[in-house]
C-alpha cells in the first residue's frame, strides 16, 4: 500500500470505475457502535462548486483519542472534507457532530471557523499559513489567547486580570514551542524559520487553541526523513495527551505507522475505511490506486507553493 502514492493521471483513470455510493453506509459498520466514545461524526457531506462535485455523500466517524488518517489521490476531496469540518466551506448537504467532551455534542455546520476552533477543533494548512511577520512566540500566542475574555478597556487600563491572562498566554505558548522543539526560535520571525520548523510551528499554534480534535493537512509534505521521524513522534505525543488527530497525508509509510484507522477518499466518495492493514487489502482501494506507479507521496515543495486563495 505504501506504493499507492498520488500519480494524478492514473489515479483519475482508476477513478472512472469508482465504487458505487451504495457501498458507503456499510463502511461505517466497521466502527464500534457506541457514539459515547466518538469525537466527531460527519454524515453524508456533499459539497459542490458550480458543476464540480467535490464531496459526494461522505460520512466519517472518529473515536476519541484515535489517530485517523484520510488518504486518497490528489483532488479526491480530502482538503474539502477538512474545510467542511472546520467551517471554511459550507457543504450543501450533510451534518457534522462534534463531542468536545463525552456526551456533550455540538453541530459544527453553519458555524464560522473561529467558533469551531473555540469549540476545540484546530487545524493546520497544506500550504503552511503562518503569520509570517510575527515571531514564533506571537504566532502561538494567537492560539493560546483565543479564549481569553478581557476586552480593550482592560488592556488600555492595564488591569491586573488582563496582565495575568497575557502572562499566562505567553507561558503556555512557550511551553508549546518547547513541546514542538522550537524553544530556541522563540523570538524569531516565523517566515525566517526553515520549512520543517514552520510546519511544527503551525502545529504548535493549533495546539495553542487547546483542541480536542486536531486536523493536520499533509504535515509531512516537503519535510526530510529526519523531520518526518520527529513529526511522527510529535503526533504520537499529541495523541497521547488525549487529543484526537485527523490527518491527511500522502506519505504512506507515515500513515501506516501512525494511524489507528484509515479512510480512503476518491472522487469525493469514501471508498474504504478501516485499520491500515484492512484498507491496504481493500480491492476498491487497490483499484483506485491501480496503475499508480509507486509514487511515494508528493515530492518536496508540493505543499508549500499552493494557491493561497483556495480556501477563500
Amino acid at each position: 500500500m505504501s506504493r499507492a502514492g498520488s500519480h494524478r493521471a492514473s489515479a483519475r483513470r482508476g477513478g472512472a470505475a469508482a465504487v458505487p455510493g451504495a457501498r458507503q453506509p456499510s463502511m461505517m459498520e466497521n466502527v464500534g457502535g457506541d457514539p459515547g466514545d466518538l469525537v466527531v461524526e460527519a454524515r453524508d457531506l456533499s459539497l459542490r462548486f458550480g458543476g464540480v462535485t467535490s464531496l459526494d455523500g461522505v460520512s466519517l466517524r472518529q473515536r476519541r483519542g484515535e489517530i485517523l488518517a484520510v488518504i486518497g489521490p490528489n483532488g479526491a476531496g480530502k482538503t474539502s472534507l477538512f474545510n467542511c469540518l472546520t467551517g471554511a466551506y459550507r457543504p450543501q448537504e450533510g451534518s457534522v457532530t462534534f463531542w468536545p467532551q463525552p456526551g456533550q455534542s455540538t453541530e459544527l455546520l453553519g458555524r464560522r471557523p473561529h467558533a469551531i476552533t473555540r469549540l476545540g477543533v484546530a487545524r493546520t494548512f497544506q500550504n503552511i499559513r503562518l503569520f509570517p511577520a510575527l515571531s514564533a512566540l506571537e504566532n502561538v500566542q494567537i492560539g493560546t489567547e483565543v479564549r481569553q475574555k478581557y476586552g480593550p478597556l482592560s488592556v488600555v487600563l492595564g488591569l491586573p486580570h488582563a496582565r495575568r491572562a497575557e502572562r499566562d498566554g505567553v507561558r503556555r505558548a512557550a511551553d508549546l514551542l518547547d513541546l514542538v522543539g522550537l524553544a530556541h526560535r522563540t523570538h524569531e520571525q516565523a517566515a525566517s524559520l526553515p520549512y520543517g520548523e514552520q510546519r511544527r510551528l503551525e502545529i504548535a499554534r493549533a495546539l495553542g487553541t487547546d483542541p480536542r480534535l486536531l486536523l493536520l493537512d499533509e504535515p509531512a509534505a516537503g519535510t526530510n526523513p529526519v523531520e518526518k521521524r520527529d513529526l511522527a513522534a510529535l503526533v504520537t505525543r499529541i495523541a497521547a495527551t488525549g487529543v484526537s488527530v485527523l490527518l491527511i497525508e500522502h506519505d504512506m509509510g507515515l500513515v501506516m505507522s501512525l494511524a489507528t484507522t484509515v479512510a480512503v477518499l476518491n472522487f469525493g466518495r469514501m471508498i474504504a475505511y478501516g485499520s491500515p492493514s484492512e484498507v491496504q487489502r481493500d480491492p476498491a482501494v487497490i483499484e483506485a490506486y491501480l496503475g499508480a506507479d509507486s509514487g511515494t507521496g508528493p515530492g518536496p515543495g508540493a505543499g508549500g507553493a499552493g494557491n493561497r486563495r483556495e480556501l477563500g
Partner: protein, 470 residues
C-alpha cells in the same frame, strides 16, 4: 541638497548590494561605477537626461505664470519661452551629471530608503521604544509652539493636532486591522454635531432640552461614534477591501450631505455657531479655553499622548496581535480561532470613537459647518496615515506634522492657489521613495519586506498589485 557627497568618489559596494538583487537585468550596470565620460552616452543615461529635462520644463511651468482658458497653452509657453528656463535646464543637467557620475547619491538614497533590518528578537519585547527618545520628542512638542507665531499655533491645533488625533484613530482601522475606510470624517462630524446638540440651545435648530458642558459630551460622543461605527461596520465588514472602501466613502458622503442638506436639523450649510468653549468648574478651579490656541494645543497634546500610550498597549496585547494576524492571513487567523469579524468591528468602533472624540474638541474650539466634513478631508486623513507610516503611532503623528506643516509652510511660500500643486508633487515623490511611510512600525515594515519577497499580504486588502515584483 547634495551635501558632502561630491561626485567622483567610489561608492561602497556593500551597502548597495542588498537591493541590487531585485533590480532585474538593469541591476548589474548600476553597480559598476560609471563616471567615465563614455558611460554618459549610453541610452539609459540619455533617457535619464530626457526625463530630467522634461521635469525641468514641468517645474518651469509649475512655477510660471497663470493662464486662462481663452489661451490654454499660453501660460505654459510663456513659462518655457522665458529666460528662467535656462536655470531649470541647468539644474536638470547638473542633476543628471550628479546622478550619472556620483554613486554616493544613490548610495545615500538607498541607505535612507532601505529599511534597516533588525532581527525580530531585538525588536520583540521592547516596550514602546527607547523611553529617552519618546521623552525628548514630548519635550519638543511641549516647547515647539512657544517658538512659533500665533497663527502657527492656531494651525498646530486646527491642522496638526486635530488631524494627528484623527490619524491615530484611523490608524487603528487602516494600520492595525488593515481595512480601508474612506469615510472616516463622518465620525468626526458625528462628534461635532453631538456637541452642538448637547451644549447649545442656539447652534442648531435641533438641540437637547438641557445644556451640558462640552466635557460631558466627550463620553457621549465617544459612544455614539463607536455605535455609528458598529452600525456601519456590522453589515459591511464582510465585504472585501475595495468594496469596503467604496461603502465607507458612500457613508461619509451621506453624512456630509445630510449635515449640509438637513437645514431643519443641523442648520445646514449655515453651520453650528455658538458651541461654548471647553471649561472646567471643579474643586474651585474655573478655567475656560478661549480663542487663544495654546491651551487647546496642550490639551490636545495631552490627549494625543494618552491615546498613543493606550493604543500602544492595545497593539501589544492579544487584540493587537489578533489584528496583525488578520492583516497577515485572515483565513489562518480565523482558523486559529480569531473572531475576525468581531475584531474588525472593534477596530472600526475604536477608530470611530477617536474620531468622535476629536469632533467634540473641534466643535468646542471653533465654528464649523459641513465643509469641514468633506470627502477630501477623509482622503487627507488616509494620506496622513499612509504618509506617516501605517501601523505606527509615532508615524501617523509625524505624518500629520509633516503634511499639515507643509500646507502651512507653502501658505507663505507660494501663491495659495498653487499650493496643492506642490503638495501633490511632494506626496507622489514621497510615495515613490518611501512607500512604507516616514516612520513605519517595525511590524509593518517586516510585513512589507515579506510582501516584497512574496510571503503574506502587507494588508488585508490583498497582496501588492500585479507586476509588483520585478
Amino acid at each position: 541638497m547634495t551635501g558632502p557627497n561630491v561626485p567622483g568618489q567610489p561608492a561602497p559596494r556593500s551597502s548597495t548590494s542588498t537591493r541590487e538583487g531585485r533590480e532585474g537585468p538593469g541591476g548589474p550596470r548600476r553597480v559598476r561605477p560609471s563616471w567615465h565620460p563614455a558611460g554618459l552616452r549610453s541610452p539609459a543615461r540619455l533617457r535619464q537626461l530626457g526625463v530630467l529635462v522634461l521635469l525641468g520644463l514641468l517645474a518651469a511651468v509649475v512655477t510660471g505664470p497663470t493662464g486662462n482658458s481663452d489661451h490654454p497653452l499660453r501660460a505654459a509657453w510663456d513659462s518655457i519661452a522665458d529666460p528662467r528656463i535656462v536655470l531649470f535646464l541647468v539644474i536638470a543637467v547638473v542633476l543628471w551629471l550628479i546622478v550619472a557620475l556620483g554613486g554616493q547619491l544613490r548610495t545615500l538614497a538607498v541607505r535612507w530608503t532601505t529599511p534597516v533590518r533588525e532581527p525580530v528578537g531585538a525588536a520583540y519585547g521592547r516596550r514602546g521604544g527607547p523611553i529617552a527618545l519618546n521623552l525628548a520628542l514630548l519635550a519638543v512638542a511641549i516647547i515647539a509652539p512657544m517658538l512659533f507665531s500665533t497663527a502657527a499655533q492656531q494651525w498646530m491645533v486646527d491642522g496638526v493636532g486635530i488631524y494627528a488625533l484623527l490619524a491615530l484613530g484611523l490608524n487603528v482601522v487602516v494600520g492595525y486591522a488593515g481595512l480601508l475606510d474612506l469615510g472616516y470624517i463622518a465620525f468626526f462630524a458625528i462628534g461635532a454635531y453631538t456637541t452642538a446638540y448637547f451644549t447649545s440651545q442656539t447652534a442648531m435648530p435641533w438641540h437637547a432640552p438641557f445644556t451640558l458642558n462640552p466635557f460631558f459630551v466627550f463620553p457621549i460622543a465617544l459612544l455614539l461614534a463607536a455605535l455609528a461605527g458598529v452600525v456601519l461596520g456590522a453589515p459591511t465588514l464582510r465585504l472585501r477591501g475595495d468594496y469596503l472602501a467604496i461603502v465607507t466613502l458612500g457613508f461619509g458622503e451621506i453624512i456630509h450631505l445630510l449635515a449640509n442638506n438637513a437645514d431643519g436639523v443641523t442648520n445646514g450649510a449655515r453651520g453650528a455657531f455658538g458651541v461654548p468653549h471647553l471649561s472646567i468648574h471643579l474643586l474651585g478651579i474655573d478655567y475656560t479655553w478661549g480663542i487663544d490656541p495654546l491651551p487647546y494645543y496642550y490639551l490636545l497634546l495631552a490627549i494625543i499622548v494618552i491615546v498613543m500610550i493606550a493604543f500602544g498597549r492595545l497593539e501589544r496585547s492579544r487584540i493587537g496581535r489578533s489584528w496583525a494576524a488578520i492583516r497577515e492571513d485572515e483565513i489562518a487567523a480565523e482558523a486559529t480561532g480569531v473572531a475576525t469579524l468581531r475584531l474588525k468591528l472593534l477596530a472600526f468602533a475604536i477608530g470611530a470613537s477617536v474620531s468622535g472624540f476629536a469632533g467634540v474638541l473641534f466643535a468646542s474650539k471653533q465654528f464649523f459647518n459641513p465643509q469641514s466634513f468633506s470627502l477630501q478631508a477623509s482622503f487627507f486623513i488616509v494620506a496622513v496615515v499612509i504618509f506617516g507610516g501605517m501601523g505606527s503611532r509615532l508615524g501617523v503623528v509625524v505624518g500629520a506634522v509633516v503634511l499639515q506643516g507643509l500646507t502651512f509652510y507653502l501658505r507663505d511660500l507660494v501663491a495659495p492657489a498653487d499650493r496643492y500643486i506642490y503638495f501633490g508633487a511632494v506626496i507622489v515623490t514621497m510615495m515613490i521613495f518611501r512607500p512604507q511611510g516616514l516612520v513605519p512600525s517595525r511590524r509593518r515594515r517586516r510585513e512589507i519586506e515579506l510582501s516584497e519577497a512574496g510571503v503574506g499580504a502587507a494588508d488585508a486588502l490583498g497582496a501588492a498589485p500585479t507586476g509588483a515584483r520585478p
